[in-house]
Amino acid sequence: MKYENWILLILVIILLVAPFVIYSGLGEDQGYFGGADDQGSDAVSETGYQPWFSSLWEPPSGEIESLLFAVQAAIGAIIIGYAFGYWRGQASNKKDN
């Protein structure tokens, strides 16, 4: 199907935009859009547990953290794009010969 990937992509976007519409105007201060991971570790802390080890290095600020997450996504995206571009070239070469 010609437009299959576009339809799939639009569905993903709808799924991810829906929360912003549903909880429009609400933010972290009202308890929205926080991380489920953090809620998990909060629940652990509530049992009275004290972590016995802390990270060797922590990103010193939210800015640095988002930089590193972006780097992670970029590294992955470059590899995927490179491989698919390479395969596409291979496939069109085959057709020409």
Binding site: E4, L8, P51, F53, P59, E65, A73, I75, I80, Y86
Partner: protein, 223 residues
């Protein structure tokens, strides 16, 4: 989270994880010798995990979480190799992002790299056998692998913190993770289908050689 499991549980999960990841490394060596073409496919599977696990997405429950990206690797290569890919991603996140952790690497690798994907893999192989459309199949696989990752995480946390009981603790963690994860699992499934479509159109022979798709799944030339 770093240090968020008692030392005993860190050790237990490491002991279970290490032989599986070791076997995965052996499998990678074998498969890349047999089919050198698979190296790029391995790189794409690992990269897909890299991208998806870095994207913290909002969910309709009002919390954020991230998908795992482990469905693609497991459909292509099985759970042991996915365990190796998961270990690489988790070490990166633990050392540079203070996300996950070195002490909890065993636990996280088992949930995101091995047992979650294993459940997806069972779905994939069963659906392949009965001839379910390969695109529907990869969607289900990615969804199940993502959801089961958090199911296993809930079990691991409940085992370490059975307060007041294992069942109650499991229910508590399950409710924190699962409703948020379901829409993200669907999003992850859809994204995995997009990558799968690419692989189907560029590398159908390789997928067939790896016994990942059946001959009738190969798209016809004029697609």
């Amino acid at each position: 989270m770093e240090g968020f499991l008692p030392p005993m549980w860190c050790l237990i999960w490491y002991i279970i994880m290490i032989p599986i990841v070791g076997y995965g490394i052996y499998q990678i060596k074998k498969i890349t010798e047999e089919y050198p073409d698979t190296k790029a496919l391995l790189a794409v599977s690992g990269a897909f995990m890299f991208v998806l696990s870095s994207l913290k997405m909002p969910s309709v429950t009002g919390s954020c979480s991230h998908p795992c990206g482990n469905g693609l690797g497991v459909a292509l290569f099985g759970p042991a190799i996915t365990g190796v890919l998961g270990t690489i991603v988790l070490i990166f996140q633990a050392l540079l992002l203070a996300h996950g952790g070195i002490t909890t690497l065993g636990a996280n690798c088992l949930s995101m790299g091995i047992i979650g994907p294993f459940c997806g893999w069972v779905v994939y192989k069963a659906c392949q056998k009965v001839g379910v459309n390969t695109k529907v199949n990869i969607f289900l696989t990615a969804f199940v692998a993502d959801i089961m990752t958090y199911f296993v995480t809930s079990v691991e946390l409940a085992l370490a913190f059975p307060v007041p009981s294992f069942g109650a603790a499991f229910a508590k963690f399950f409710i924190i993770f699962m409703p948020t994860q379901i829409p993200l699992g669907i999003a992850e499934g859809l994204l995995t289908v997009i990558i799968w479509n690419g692989l189907l159109s560029y590398k159908p022979e390789l997928l067939e050689k790896l016994n990942v798709i059946n001959p009738q799944d190969v798209p016809s030339g004029d697609d």
